[in-house]
Symmetry: D2
Subunit: 440 residues, 4 copies
């Protein structure tokens, strides 16, 4: 099995549309880690372990020592943005990381200057950008492909991945032009406004056989045309919406309640944040995209269809409020009305004082590294095993997405074990109790 | 496989040492469910579903329709207590369930009158009991066995299980008399004070081949002597300490943090409750038993040995305070200091307004029903697959206990699938993405 | 002084436009108190004490024993509503009080049947009423006056007060027709839609010399025309918006922060409630009325004009969400970003699990009783000393309203002391330290 | 009146026993303010305003512009500590203020080197000091007086005040040696161990006519002997225990609940902190001193004697836990069980993420400046008007202490108005409503 995976040799270019708070936190962090200043906490690929074999074998290697991932020292960053600030300047404005830290990697960050962005203001009204490409959508795609190839050449990269870290686009649904590659390419030529900016990047990447991961809730690669293209060029795709903060907590907690057959009558979730993301989401059209992404997780985990007595009457409400005093320090408060034995009511309140970009950056890194691994392992199309990182994971047609973070984790881990020829783990464990097995 | 499990025919007697808040809530609830007044929310055996086969098969039966469990209508309750109140009176005093509900099952509850308890005040100083057996420990064990057999005969039971719902005993560790069945039986005859009351019940049950589940954190069946006896009489045991409230939340949340490689620097847990359990735990000796049970879960889930950068410096503190205004409405508040990317700090606060007995009652029910299933399936000794319900699960010697509730759930579910001859589920799911499998 | 107050003899009729959750909770409660079943907790007039004289005198009578208030046994209730349910039925639907309690006063509640309401759907789109008067605004006012007089006659009342407990009307500002009594009466005849339903009730009451208190945030009596009329007929008015829940907490906490010169950078307030009030406020037009009422309190207490370094940059945001699972059990969560010495940041989180009508009912009672007292004491027009009970208190032109609940309390208490000829209290207290006074 | 206050000319020396987190935060802060780097937020004397005259006069000067206080530029700091670190080193270890800030005032802080402390390990077992005076208690007092005079001379100070910022001493009650100055001085000579270290400082100061304020809950100046001495030497005293964090919140909130006649059934308060103060309080003997100080406030505010239906059954519990992850960032969580109309239950949860020394430092400053003012104004003995700053304020014999922070504030403000010959404010305000006054 292992022999089928191409080695992670040479440089890996990570190209990012949207060099805002998340992307600059990622880039600055990787540079700090390379210098030994900081640690990549929150990254499963860098810090996580994976159990192999029986519990008594005590095999528990780091993930990065188990599967052949690109080394952080081999990573080169680049990207596009509607603002022309270099990554040092953008990071200072984002106010996520302390100036003291940023100054230690200033030189590395200043050289990352954003390429001009493919942008359409209709998709994010609260953004005012100046560093913008011109041309029809078809021309923009050509320019993005040229950008990618030029970057690859300039930095001597062996491989490239794209990770969308741009803002949430306004809400839209898939229309006919998104249903097949042929229709999509026609629409591209016709400069059809239903092609969103993020789709231009995704198309450009996939066309070149470059993996694409989508950190925002916009459809982007979650349309038939892109899936078709991904298969055609043997390219992995992963989407959508980095699972951070409140939804992370929700997909941790809800499986626990469901495991115990505790009923849920209401779940009220409010968020306050004051960064650029919060500003964009203050527009109802953009909020709707995020809301749809966030609302879905409970239904998929709790299955009200199969458990109407427990979850049939669930009232789920989500709020996001722009609150400048908090900056990037997103904070959530959840009130959960549950009921137990004989219907008696209980309540859970969760207050998460989190940091949006601090949680998102390692996810972006892992998606980049795992997408690159998938490409080298010959996997293409939807990578459901990466749904661990995503609020609204793509799945094969006809399948319910799996939002339970623990099933997602097992899926990810067993995929890695499978790739490396290790036994899958079922946690059955009856073999530790020998006499039982004899009986059975 | 299925043919190896004896059918659940005839009556099942559930005998409970400790007819306090938890037990009376359980009994009243089951009677209310039998009458169609209420629903057994929180019980996996009654309300839970289990996925079978591939996701596309859409097989998702109720657990009780999948494995042959005793029917609630075939259950008869009995028990022992240091107070002589019948279950109706005790339930009224416990103030967990509303009088309106209790009055609807008054007749059924009044007939359950506690047998005299085997008790030693040194193990619970804050309890003052009057309904107490006399005699040496050996004689007490004989009396308990007689009680059991008389109950079985009187109610025409086919099978019996015991579930300890008594108070937490003071802290003690296993000593030499607990190391083998022989030494234990000698000590019994010598009326050795190191044999706690709960051990007398456990010994009596196991001697008769009757499953025993332990809902409190005292050792009880978690000593070599009892494991030996359980194997000898082909009897399942399960312990220890019902996993409710704060520890339930902890074993839901901690695996989520660990999954994402988020660091944990501190975890402060405080509890306030005002029921009899709270009064007993107000004694430092009894609190210590509970504290040890509650403290262990984080270490086992987070593995600071394997992840010293993330969890090596974790400060974990637990408080329980007796607070009469809350009665049985136990409330917990947790402050969790976590850190992410580059060590940046975040905080999670969880406030759980729970109800102690409401959460515990369905656990007691499930443990009774699954222990009975295990017995009929020929399983004996430690039932690690029931650790899903327990704060401090027993495991085979040399194995770390598994406290991650999601691994516990998979273990439970795959055990059921295994018993019934169904495929185990690994959540790999690559087969849904056919082209990938071809490549691999 | 005392001799100037007419005695509280005979029956007092309390007439309420809006027999919903608050009003039915008030009426049922007073009837239960009369029968000795319950206590009027939360009512300063019934339960509160007032200090008189020097601390060493130890004079601390109940308020009701100090000032001549109407006795609860002399109260008769009546009212208007858009639904025709009698108060027992309406209370059952409101689900604030337990059926067990309501049934004990069923007879007293059933006889209170709402008179037809003066209603205009444009002022509360989410309400669908059927028990409605017809006619022009002028005719409606005539009908309301007839209702009042008929009620007074039928029940043999000596005096009447009106307390608005209806829903919040949509947002509107005072226009020219509200600027003088003459213009208002002309507009009434012209059936001008700018006259809101609540104004019809207020006009009718004041015209008859009957005190009017306004529990909702709509302007109602807070317009020049009504103030003019109140003076003309020697009638007290009090408004607006019962101060319950979150705003109560805010006007308790903010004065404390200001007292200590602690800075406030942000205050985020969210509310969830599921009663009829919540439904009405789910309409943005009605929410705006409430928002304006709630937003003002911080500015008045913190005085950013005088303390720009501390409060000049305060971001204040308020949310109310309709959340059916909570019913009348309104819940608020506040995040307050404060800063102290050298600008260091701190946070306060307040989670108030309150009950909307339980907090409002005693306020309605006190306003009724104190308005009646004011009338008998010859006080007319704006009663600023009752701002203690109100979110958005009316004041004389040119005066900032006083929202600090502790200044409001002193104002109220010193007004009572003044009315009864007692010394005002300044808390100076230097006289207890005799030697100091000699020096000074 | 004003003419009686001596002007604040020349230098004021603030001498502090205990140069730990609070004191170093105070000193560094004042130096930073002098340089214009920071602002003295949280200090009423520096940032607060005071209303004068009628509301319509709009007189709202800064306190420091109204009463003649020492200017910050005229302050010189000194002190004693059991550790020999200078204030820069101690502040770095305390980790309250950022190194970036401390380095800007490094020169000013390094010159403040602690004098050897009068210490007795029996009063604080968890402290291990090395910078300690030797001698009998009488000799220690002589040494402290010499220290004070030498400091005054060395720095050319016009006046001196002492503010105790040392750790909480173990619990002790006043005994016979504390009952008169004569007995106290005899005990001093006899080196009686019942004289605590803080009393040695207080005695030394008062003997020299120097004001003494006590920031910890130990008795210190709250004994007859010290009050006698203070009167003898015309010296103001103020104690005890800086009112910060949880108790600050409690004395803000409780008066609000009492104002509204809302019942309180339970108040559970937990605190976590990880600084030296937390370490000292981890010893039960020291905790008891703090507990007594913290417990008293509710009783005094709620008056269960006068309101047994509302507060007669109140269960009040306080916990402090040493929790190193938080350092000086003390955090409190309060659960308050209240009840309203007809006894219906509600809950308030307050989570205060505060900073202990940030809240305490401005209090220490204000107490120093106001004590100096009092001395110049000829006020001596107990300064009850400073109870605004104190958890457990001293009062004249036979008087209940006033813990309601709003009454304390009015007392303070009216004292200042009284000193300066301004009208006291009663908030009556009926004169704004002219017609009423005519009637009355």
């Amino acid at each position: 099995m292992k022999t089928n995976i191409k080695p992670a040799e040479g440089k890996l270019g990570i190209l990012i549309p949207g060099l805002g708070a998340v992307a600059t936190t990622l880039i600055a962090g990787v540079e700090a880690v390379k210098k030994g200043i900081s640690q990549p906490i929150g990254s499963l690929t860098q810090m996580g372990n994976i159990r192999l074999g029986k519990r008594t074998e005590n095999r528990f290697p780091k993930v990065k020592d188990f599967v052949p991932l690109a080394n952080l020292n081999d990573i080169v960053f680049g990207g596009w943005d509607v603002y022309s600030d270099n990554v040092y300047e953008a990071a200072m404005k984002a106010k996520v990381l302390e100036p003291g830290l940023l100054n230690q990697v200033k030189a590395e960050l200043e050289v990352v200057v954003p390429m001009k962005a493919a942008f359409d203001k209709n998709y994010a009204k609260n953004l005012i950008g100046t560093n913008i490409k011109t041309g029809t959508r078809y021309e923009l795609a050509q320019q993005v492909m040229e950008d990618i190839l030029a970057f690859k050449e300039r930095h001597g990269c062996d491989r490239i991945v794209l990770v969308w870290c741009g803002s949430t686009e306004i809400y839209y649904e898939a229309s006919d032009i998104h249903q097949s590659l042929e229709k999509f390419e026609q629409a591209l030529i016709l400069d059809d406004k239903r092609i969103s900016p993020s789709m231009i990047y995704a198309y450009s990447a996939l066309k070149l056989g470059i993996p694409f991961a989508n950190g925002a809730p916009n459809l982007t690669v979650d349309i038939p045309a892109m899936i078709e293209l991904a298969k055609l060029t043997d390219t992995p795709i992963a989407g959508k919406d980095f699972k951070t903060g409140q939804t992370l907590m929700k997909t941790i907690l809800a499986p626990g309640l469901a495991a115990r057959s505790l009923g849920v009558r209401g779940w009220f979730s409010t968020n306050i944040l004051g960064n650029r993301d919060g500003l964009v989401l203050d527009d109802p059209d953009n909020f709707k995209t995020k809301e749809v992404s966030k609302l879905g997780v409970l239904e998929d985990i709790l299955r009200p269809d199969a458990n109407p007595e427990l979850y049939g009457d669930l009232y789920h409400k989500i709020r996001i409020d722009y609150y400048p005093p908090h900056g990037d320090n997103k904070e959530s408060w959840d009130n959960i009305d549950i009921f137990g034995w004989l219907g008696y009511k209980m309540q859970i309140k969760i207050n998460f004082l989190c940091r949006d970009s601090i949680l998102a950056a390692p996810i972006a890194l892992d998606l980049a590294l795992f997408s690159d691994l998938a490409k080298r392992a010959g996997m293409s199309g939807i990578q459901e095993w990466l749904s661990f990182y995503l609020k609204s994971p793509q799945t094969a047609e006809g399948l319910h997405p799996e939002n339970d973070i623990f099933k997602q984790l097992i899926k990810l881990q067993n995929t890695l074990r499978h790739l490396m020829g290790e036994d899958l783990i079922t946690h059955l464990g009856l073999d530790y109790y020998q006499e039982l097995v004899d009986v059975l």
